[in-house]
Structures are given as structure tokens and as C-alpha cells.
């Protein structure tokens, strides 16, 4: 079939699916507020809080959701209560819908989370480095070779992909978002896994060079994993360093097309050809 016709049909379907009739509802949004949010006046729509606790003293007609905080209900919530990374405490209050807490256990037990995370990365190293070892090495070389440029590009792509995932997540309400979200999630997941494996190899290789020892590749990856996990224990600097390294690694992964150095979408790569 004609490419143009297919794209037009797809566009129409996309817009048909994204039409909806929830225009009247609104959300009270609090992103990283300075103090605990107190809802002391009746709210008609939803309440969404990011990064702090919320106390519901009055009536909320819609849902109350918190990411990275707890909910204390002293008033009346007609919809659902969702807390990610915190708890829900009913203090003479009432919740009309469901109360859901996710990740409360993980938030409290840091060691458990660390072990789980390390286990995941060990398995990923096993699979990833066995099948794509050469690509990861190439990518790590590219990462170290052109760090600053790749950092800027990676940071840009991180922001773009975050916005895309946010929009597609919001669009889940209208249906089309589910497909878009899965699509964006798979892209981000693949790039993220590859980038982190690249970082592992880079750390391991770097330590090997510093000590003037030649480690086997798998040992380098394990060393990298240790460095990566220990970065989490450094307050603030660890986080900033992680974001910078992840950005550059993201950039390298996209630039080298997962370490293969083939062209994206058939556009010729001028260098090396």
C-alpha cells in the first residue's frame, strides 16, 4: 500500500482515539512544595502532589495521588487514594474509592532494594555482555572519546524522552496513551540498559588502567557495578555525577546506535565511510 495513505490513516486513527470528553475536570498540582500540603478547603477535581506529604482536612471530590510522600486523610476523599513510595493513614477520615500504596516497603528498606537492584544488574550483565559484549566495549570507547558533546546530546534526549513519556502517560486516560507509553517505555528501557552496561564497562576499564592491571571483561563489569552502587551512597554529588554520566552514556548509545556504528534511518554517516 502507499506509504502516504498509511500515514494519513494512522494519523486520523491517532486523533480519533485521543478525542475525549473530560474537559471540565481539573487537577490541583503541587510539584516539590516547600512544606506539607494541607487541603483545608473543598476541592472539586483531583489532587496530585510530587515530593511531599499531603494532609486532607476537607473534602476532595476526585482522587488524591502522591509520588514520593504519604497521605494523611482527616477529611473525606470521594475518589481513590494512591501513594507511591509512602503510606496512607486514615485519621478519622474516609476514602470512597480504593487506597493503593506502592513501594512503601522498598522505601524503608534500603539494603533490600540494593540487593534486588544488584541481582537485576548481575542478570543483565550476564545476558547483555554475553551477547553484545563487543558493542558495549565500542560504546564505552565512544563514551570516553567524546564525552562533552555526547553529554549535551544525551541530556537533550533524556529531557525529550521524559516529556514524551509524561505526555503518553497522561494520555493513558484517553486510551491512545497506553500504546504510546509502551512504545516510549521500550525505547527508553533498551537505551537505559545499554547505557548502564556501558558505564559498568567504562568504570571497570578505568580502574584497570589506573591500577595498571588487565582484568577479564566480566570482572570489569562487576567492578563497574560496585562503583555504580556505591555512587548511591554519596549524597547529592553522587546523584549529580550519575545524571551527568547517564546523559553522556545515553548520548553515546544513541550516537553509536547501540555500539554498531550503523546509520539511523538510512542517513549516511560521513566519517569512516
Amino acid at each position: 500500500m502507499n506509504k502516504k495513505v498509511v500515514s494519513i490513516v494512522l494519523t486520523i486513527v491517532l486523533f480519533l482515539f485521543s478525542y475525549n470528553s473530560f474537559a471540565k475536570e481539573s487537577t490541583k498540582l503541587f510539584v516539590f512544595p516547600a512544606h506539607t500540603v494541607k487541603i483545608d478547603k473543598p476541592v472539586k477535581g483531583d489532587v496530585l502532589v510530587v515530593g511531599k506529604d499531603v494532609e486532607v482536612l476537607s473534602t476532595v471530590e476526585g482522587n488524591v495521588s502522591v509520588i514520593g510522600g504519604s497521605i494523611v486523610v482527616e477529611g473525606d476523599v470521594k475518589g481513590n487514594c494512591v501513594s507511591i513510595g509512602g503510606g496512607i493513614y486514615l485519621n478519622k477520615g474516609k476514602v470512597g474509592g480504593d487506597s493503593v500504596t506502592i513501594g512503601e516497603l522498598f522505601g524503608k528498606n534500603r539494603l533490600y532494594l540494593l540487593l534486588l537492584n544488584s541481582f537485576f544488574w548481575m542478570i543483565t550483565i550476564g545476558f547483555g555482555f554475553y551477547f553484545y559484549g563487543d558493542n558495549i566495549k565500542e560504546n564505552a570507547f565512544e563514551f570516553a572519546d567524546d564525552f562533552i558533546r555526547l553529554f549535551f546530546f544525551g541530556f537533550y534526549s533524556l529531557i525529550a524522552l521524559s516529556i514524551l513519556s509524561l505526555i503518553s502517560f497522561a494520555l493513558i486516560k484517553v486510551g491512545i496513551g497506553f500504546i504510546l507509553f509502551v512504545f516510549v517505555f521500550l525505547i527508553v528501557f533498551a537505551i537505559y540498559i545499554f547505557s548502564i552496561l556501558t558505564l559498568f564497562y567504562f568504570f571497570g576499564d578505568f580502574i584497570g588502567r589506573m591500577l595498571k592491571l588487565s582484568f577479564p571483561d566480566s570482572f570489569k563489569m562487576i567492578l563497574g557495578l560496585i562503583v555504580y552502587q556505591s555512587l548511591k551512597f554519596v549524597p547529592l554529588f553522587g546523584f549529580i555525577a550519575f545524571i551527568i554520566l547517564l546523559s553522556a552514556s545515553f548520548g553515546a548509545t544513541i550516537y553509536s546506535r547501540f555500539g554498531t556504528f550503523k546509520s539511523w534511518f538510512g542517513l549516511p554517516r560521513f566519517w569512516g565511510e
Binding site: 494519523t11 476526585g62 495521588s65 554475553y130 509524561l166 497522561a170 491512545i176 534511518f265
Partner: protein, 170 residues
Amino acid sequence: MNRLCQLLERYLKDDLNKEEKLLFESHMVKCAHCRKEVELLREVDEYLNAIPKVKVPDNFSNIVLEKIHQHKKVVAGWYLYGAFAFLSFVAALFAIAAVGVNSFVNNFVFLGKSLYNFASSVLTAVVTLSGSLYNALTPGKVNGIVLTMAFVIIFLVFLKSIKLFSSVER
């Protein structure tokens, strides 16, 4: 078969001396079998010569061996994970035998229930959060379509920038 018929192969290779050649050619006039054979083999030869010749790189055998090695490595990897899966299956069987089937089934049902509860709570969380986020992002009336258009535009710009960035000359 005549003794002269045995010269056929060398005749085709042009490996006979003058006398032998004359001898064989005079033999061919009488022997229909040799004539046919020579014709057929010449046709085959022509056909083979007509196929375009491919120049193989110097390290061709190395490349082939390397590809075989890569393939073997991948296959061995899958076998390794297959063996790992089999071992864990056997270990699970032993564990079931040790614990007792009844208690295993009970545990399994419990696990299923908790997984179901977890999935339903995740679903509630996703629906609630996405609804709140959607309402926060869309104060106007044509909301859904505008958001989708924004998604498409940002995605296309992102693809274009990847395309440009990864083909820049350094």
C-alpha cells in the same frame, strides 16, 4: 570401451601431445559416446565460464571462521541459559517434593492472589495518576488531540535530531 576413450579427460584439459591429439580426434569420428561426452562437457565448461567471477577478500576464510565462531558463541549461550532453566526446574521439583504438594499448591494460590492484588492496585494507581496528570496538563477544551499532536511533534523533532547528530562529521 576403447582404450582411446580414456584420453577424453586429458583431451578436454588440452593435456595431450600432437600424436595423441590426432589419434583421439580420429577416434572421436568413429566413437559416438566420446563425441557426446566431449560436447556435453564443453557445454558445462561454457556455462561455468559464463558465471561472473567474484573477487573474494584476502581474509575471506578468517571472516567466515569468525562468523562461525560468533554463531557458535550465541548458540552456546542459549544452551547455557537452557541448562540453567532446566536446573532451576529440577531444583523446583525437589523443593516441591521436600515441602509437600499440598502446601505447595496453597502457597501457589496465595502467590497468585497476592500477584492479582498487586496488579489491580498497580492498575488503579496508573489510572488515577494518569487521570490526574491528564487533567493537570489539559486546562482547555481540545485537550487530548492537542496533547497527541504535541507528542507527535516532539517525537518527530527528536528523531530528526538523532538523525542529524549521528551523521555529523567530526
